[in-house]
């Protein structure tokens, strides 16, 4: 899942990026509302974590502009304001969830997973396809009930394919989802990961759609 974090405090942003990366999410961080609008306009993200108290354009304004431009990306507001009216204002302006600082990273991750599921029309906390079952909260993957150990990148890749079940994801899209902006990527990195995954999960699990990308069904 590719996440855009908009947080003006670089130290906090850095901590959240690290934490979410450790949780298998691909996170890109920007520090102002302007940069957030630019990034969201140019690239595709699965979720946006938006701080309310941004310098310049506030989090609420970013959200309003985003919704006005018909961008329906799930938005999780992050704020130091805990008053009911602040929450109501955020949710009314189109936020999907609201998390108060200081938060527990596990709660943040759980909320991100829940928003991810909801945005794909899922309600179950588990993803399943063919003979594969993924427990998102524990980062566990089972084949026929037997747990399979995957590297973080492999988990992210199969998780992305699973939440976009029956949809073809291009190699570029997958690269973006898994590596974001910051990392240097080999041109055949995705193929290598797919190869490893097929070895661990079985050859029929991930289908190759020639000239387009990969999918699971």
């Amino acid at each position: 899942m590719r996440i855009l974090l908009v947080e003006d405090d670089e130290l906090l942003a850095d901590g959240i990026v690290t934490s979410l990366s450790l949780g298998g999410f691909k996170v890109d961080a920007v520090y102002t509302g302007e940069h957030a609008l630019h990034a969201l306009g140019c690239e595709e993200f699965d979720l946006c974590i938006l701080d309310v108290g941004l310098p310049g354009i506030s989090g609420f304004d970013v959200l309003q502009k985003l919704r006005a431009s018909n961008n329906m990306i799930p938005v999780l507001m992050l704020t130091a304001r805990d008053q009911v009216q602040d929450k109501v204002e955020g949710l009314d302006k189109g936020a999907d969830d609201y998390l108060l600082k200081p938060f527990d990273v596990e709660e943040l991750k759980a909320r991100i997973r829940a928003l991810g599921r909801r945005s794909h029309g899922e309600r179950q906390p588990e993803l399943s396809f063919a003979n594969i079952r993924i427990i998102e909260s524990a980062h566990q993957i089972f084949r026929d009930g037997e747990e399979i150990k995957l590297s973080p990148k492999e988990y992210t890749l199969i998780h992305e394919l699973a939440i976009h079940k029956k949809k073809v994801l291009s190699k570029d899209k997958l690269t973006e989802l898994i590596y974001g902006w910051s990392e240097e990527v080999d041109s055949n990195a995705i193929e290598v990961h797919i190869h490893h995954l097929r070895k661990k999960l079985g050859t029929g699990v991930i289908e190759t759609v020639r000239g387009v990308g990969y999918k699971v069904s």
Binding site: D9, L11, L12, G15, I16, T18, S19, L22, A80, R81, D82, Q83, V84, L100, K101, P102, F103, D104, V105, E106
Partner: protein, 462 residues
């Protein structure tokens, strides 16, 4: 210096005392003056009467063929016998006639004219002028006149008690109207003083009727000039207190707010270390640092709640079910690993409806339960009992003396038996008390009375 506890009472007592004193002195003077004047008038009448008698007797002597005058007859008997009843006088005479006596003596000491009233009859002690004669328990005021031409004596007398009665009556009639006016004056003065002091009463009612945090200004134009200065000063004081309150509240709220981001930073990075580190010692240190951070977060949250309660924000009230709310709070408590070590048992009457501010009541219940758990002996039961009039939360812990109990409400004071790892901010009970004050509840903390060692937190809802 005179200590005035009530201006109204002071003014009333002072003015009435002064009026009474002035009235008493002037009435006494008037009374005595009137008495004196009436006495003089009576004396003058006596003298006049004696001269009339002298004139009548002299004429009688001149007309008489005999050289010695003959005794005269005074026809007063039937008048004396007549009953005047309640009347003082009628067309035939006045009942006081018998109080007026006269005697005429000739030169030989022979009484030849009198009106048969028991005025002492003694020729020997006749002396010209005014005298007071006492006889048969009666006192007479007499005037004696000697006719120099014919040598006879005329003695005219009035009974002293009648004179005194009349004198007093006349003097009293002069005095009583001023006495009668005193109560009327007191009533009018009372009204005037009350009316004059009414702005003071209005200002005190206005101030007394205020909520403890109402620092709005008084309308200066509503008060007379004498009070305007005070009202202006009061308003200025209100303004200063208000500003200082707001500054204090803003500071607490801002500080609590601004602490949230650095706390988030520390917490996120510590949790990251916890996740990536393979070193158990590092994980242990980080866990302890996280406990500290969580405690700090709790305190910041409590400070924010307190500053909001001080500012009395969010006053909206809703009708809610106390049982449901209590169950929700208990569930939250059970999810808190630090506090879940105790079993919380609820016993409640069916469906208790309350119209309150939900957020406040939730915080109140949470803080009281949190406190009960924090200070309870290990593996004991916390009992919660609800009914229409009160909420009782009982735990099992060492009892406290009265002084310790009263100190529990002080801000930043933590109980001595608080568990080191889960100790609170020292603000919880202060918040509870503030909520109770704002919601019209009463919070009592006391030792349990049911024979079990522990503390009973009691919230009286009415």
């Amino acid at each position: 210096m005179l200590n005035i506890t009530s201006i109204k009472r002071f003014l009333l007592i002072a003015v009435i005392s002064l009026i009474s004193l002035v009235w008493a002195v002037s009435s006494t003077i008037i009374f005595h003056e009137s008495q004196e004047q009436v006495e003089e008038l009576f004396d003058a009448e006596l003298a006049q009467l004696s001269r009339m008698l002298q004139a009548v007797i002299t004429t009688n002597i001149k007309l008489s063929t005999n050289s010695a005058p003959q005794p005269l007859t005074y026809l007063d008997k039937q008048i004396f016998d007549e009953a005047f009843g309640h009347q003082e006088y009628n067309e035939r005479g006045h009942k006081y006639e018998k109080k007026l006596a006269f005697q005429v003596w000739n030169t030989q000491g022979q009484l030849f004219f009198e009106n048969h009233i028991q005025l002492p009859k003694s020729f020997g002690d006749l002396k010209a002028g005014f005298h007071t004669v006492a006889t048969n328990n009666l006192k007479w005021r007499s005037f004696t006149l000697k006719d120099e031409d014919y040598g006879f004596w005329i003695k005219v007398a009035q009974r002293e008690d009648v004179r005194t009665e009349l004198t007093n009556q006349i003097a009293w009639n002069t005095t009583w109207p001023s006495l009668a006016i005193v109560p009327v004056l007191v009533l009018i003065l009372g009204w005037v003083i009350q009316k004059g002091l009414s702005p003071l009463r209005i200002i005190s009612v206005e101030l007394k009727g205020r909520d403890y945090n109402n620092l709005s200004e008084l309308n200066e134009s509503d008060y007379p000039n004498e009070l305007k200065h005070m009202v202006v000063e009061l308003n200025s004081l209100f303004q200063r207190v208000n500003e200082s309150h707001q500054r204090e509240r803003r500071f607490t709220a801002d500080a609590a707010h601004e602490l949230r981001t650095p706390l988030s930073i520390s917490k996120v990075h510590l949790q990251n270390i916890q996740q990536v580190s393979k070193n158990t010692q590092v994980i242990d240190f980080v866990s302890k640092a996280l406990i500290g951070i969580n405690r700090l977060i709790h305190m910041v949250q409590q400070l924010l709640i307190l500053s909001r309660l001080d500012a009395q924000q969010d006053e909206s009230k809703t009708t809610l079910n106390l049982n449901t709310l209590c169950n929700e709070v208990m569930l939250e408590m059970n999810q808190n690993p630090g506090l879940a070590k105790h079993e919380i048992r609820l016993s409640a009457a069916l469906s208790i409806e309350l119209t309150v501010n939900e957020t406040s009541l939730r915080i109140l219940l949470r803080n009281l339960l949190d406190n009960a758990c924090r200070y309870a002996n290990k593996h004991t039961v916390i009992e919660v009992s609800l009914n229409e009039s009160k909420i009782l939360i009982l735990n099992q812990c060492p009892t406290l003396d009265d002084e310790q109990l009263s100190l529990l409400f002080e801000r930043f004071r933590r109980g001595a038996t608080s568990n080191q790892h889960s100790s609170g901010s020292g603000l919880g009970l202060s918040i509870c008390q503030q909520i109770c004050q704002l919601s019209g509840f009463k919070l009592n903390l006391k030792n349990r009375q049911d024979g079990i060692e522990g503390i009973c937190s009691e919230v009286l809802l009415n």
